[in-house]
Subunit: 179 residues, 2 copies
Amino acid sequence: MFLIRSMEHTKVKMRTHAANSLTLLNISFGIIAIILVVRGYTHTSQLFIFLAAFSDRFDGMLARKLNTESDFGKQLDSLCDLVSFGIAPAILIYQTAFHNIPDIGLVFITVYILCGAIRLARFNVKEFDGAFYGIPITAAGIILTFFSFFVPILSVLFFGMITAILSILMVSNIRIPKM
Amino acid sequence: MFLIRSMEHTKVKMRTHAANSLTLLNISFGIIAIILVVRGYTHTSQLFIFLAAFSDRFDGMLARKLNTESDFGKQLDSLCDLVSFGIAPAILIYQTAFHNIPDIGLVFITVYILCGAIRLARFNVKEFDGAFYGIPITAAGIILTFFSFFVPILSVLFFGMITAILSILMVSNIRIPKM
């Protein structure tokens, strides 16, 4: 009896850890992406942000599938998202698109990360009613990373505008049904 | 009557914004610290991490004093702390102490940030009983930044050890009464 209960407990623990491990994989990819930008490997950094997005897509799905959604998992997810889709794409854009305007560029990326943090904090305290309010930071980060491929052919003005628009959209009240 | 109520509402809103503005100042200092390391201004970066710690010390105090503590404020605070005392000191140590061992250094700082995120997520879901469990990420970040001043005279082994110890202490169950 004790053995069965103990095995059941271990199974539940392993299932919970499975989803949280994917979340930790997401932030690890985000940290690697940041360091790769710092070391000048822009393209590899872009790849790691996409890998982070890939793990982020599956951690929530896995938690729901295994029925192990938890408050801790939700909190961890938001913290990791800020790193992988807030800090990492911001530094990527800063080092690629804004390197000729370092001070104005700093203002743009600071506002972007600030809006991302506000969006995540708001999301964590709101009851989820099947829709997002404001675009998720994951989407904003992926869009910014996608556009970083076009730095050689697009103007710095364009990157200023897209960073500002994504910042505003994150803290806006636009209702986006969850897919 | 309407005017008085409206003014009262505006006052409450302004008070809430005062504490949250200090939290946003904390993350802004953290972002500036990160960019300064990336640009090679290590010493100025150290200063900005201490400025972030200074704002962090006062946002909670201000919220309690003005009686405007909120779930949103708590969430925002954790997100900002991960940037200013997780990412910023980690990149600072990476660029100063670990620049000769970039790959092993990446493992050390990734574990440090992961442990910081776990510590914050755990803190957010636990009822506060007057004490912290595990050292706060703010303390870990300040200690790491403090030791970064000694990079020229201390060995890389020391920095590996201090980063690992701080990581373990953050996710430990050591009970630290709040001062």
